[in-house]
């Protein structure tokens, strides 16, 4: 096994090479773990919703808890108008959460530690929210860039600033998830390398750090999925209820 801490993020091809024109769409380890986490979500929620007993078993409890958690999050941040988008936000939250959590199992691949994956998710949300905003408010959605009560002299500058801060949304959304996942996993690998190189004499200290880091990383994995979903709700809220 390689001791290079970045080796774990390597994407390699599984199975035959598939090419469409000059585009390489071969099945990689990244796609494998995306498929695995999607299937895991399907299994958990199918088992959880199969029997509707009044006193739930563990699976049902898990499904119901996550349902109420996301439903509450949406109603708290985006209001009742966002109810139709529950399915979308729920799938985003569950996908990010399962990808993060599968990455915590040793020898697995963390899909969300690649910026292209998180950026695709974030730009999908960004474009979708912008389209929803234009459908709901028409050209009035552009009022988002013109805050009320600003002197006319300052208006050109303010509009430019508002546009930049609007465009920075998908980048801040994707970079946050990617940076947290990659930094955490690299750190764990580095401390793991210390355990090996210090041997049986001095290896106990980094080993205890490693244990603590694993706990922290599980917290971060959950928290980043939560932040990703709650920011989607906030952006949706901006698009549905224009405040400015």
């Amino acid at each position: 096994m390689s001791t290079n801490p970045m080796h774990q993020f390597e994407v390699y091809r599984i199975g035959p090479e598939i090419k469409v024109g000059s585009l390489d769409i071969s099945f990689t380890n990244a796609s494998l773990f995306m498929v695995i986490s999607s299937i895991a979500i399907l299994i958990v929620f199918n088992l959880g919703s199969k029997k509707n007993s009044i006193i739930p078993n563990k699976m049902q409890l898990l499904a119901e808890l996550s349902y109420t958690f996301v439903a509450k999050m949406i109603s708290d941040t985006a209001g009742s108008k966002a109810k139709p988008y529950f399915a979308f936000i729920f799938s985003i939250f569950m996908f990010v959460l399962f990808c993060n959590m599968f990455g915590m199992i040793p020898y697995t691949f963390t899909v969300t530690s690649h910026i292209i994956v998180t950026f695709m998710l974030a730009s999908f949300i960004f474009i979708g929210v912008t389209i929803i905003g234009f459908i709901k408010h028409g050209l009035g959605y552009l009022k988002l860039f013109v805050p009320s009560g600003v002197p006319v002299v300052l208006l050109p500058l303010i509009v430019v600033i508002e546009i930049i801060s609007y465009l920075s949304r998908p980048i801040s959304l994707s970079v946050r998830l990617f940076a947290n996942m990659m930094a955490g996993h690299t750190m764990m690998k580095v401390f793991g390398g210390f355990v090996i190189s210090l041997g049986i004499v001095g290896g106990w200290l980094p080993l205890s750090f490693s244990v603590a880091l694993t706990g922290l990383e599980i917290l971060v994995a959950f928290l980043q999925a939560y932040v990703f979903a709650i920011l989607t709700c906030i952006y949706l809220n901006d698009a549905l209820n224009l405040h400015h």
Partner: protein, 91 residues
């Protein structure tokens, strides 16, 4: 008969949950979220401003000027982002 008792028991349990200071609990977890949120918001606005300046410079051929201007506009946008989300947090 058992259904009735279940209902009353459910009511009692619900009351118990609402009596516990749940809002306090939720506030703590979501403020970690906002802390994560703010740090990247500042940086990403600067990055977007610089990228826009770079692209505009390339198209108009005004090499150093637009990238400088848009860098500082990006900084302002980032600070305004942080102020905005801090205001949201106080609500």
């Amino acid at each position: 008969m058992p259904k009735e008792t279940f209902k009353t028991r459910l009511e009692i349990a619900k009351n118990k949950i609402s009596k516990k200071n749940l809002p306090n609990n939720r506030k703590a977890s979501s403020s970690i979220g906002t802390a994560f949120k703010m740090s990247t918001e500042l940086v990403s606005a600067v990055a977007v401003g610089t990228i826009i300046g770079f692209i505009l410079d390339k198209t108009f051929g005004t090499k150093p000027w637009l990238i400088l201007i848009f860098f500082f506009v990006g900084v302002i946008a980032g600070i305004m982002n942080v102020i905005k989300s801090a205001k949201n947090m106080q609500k």
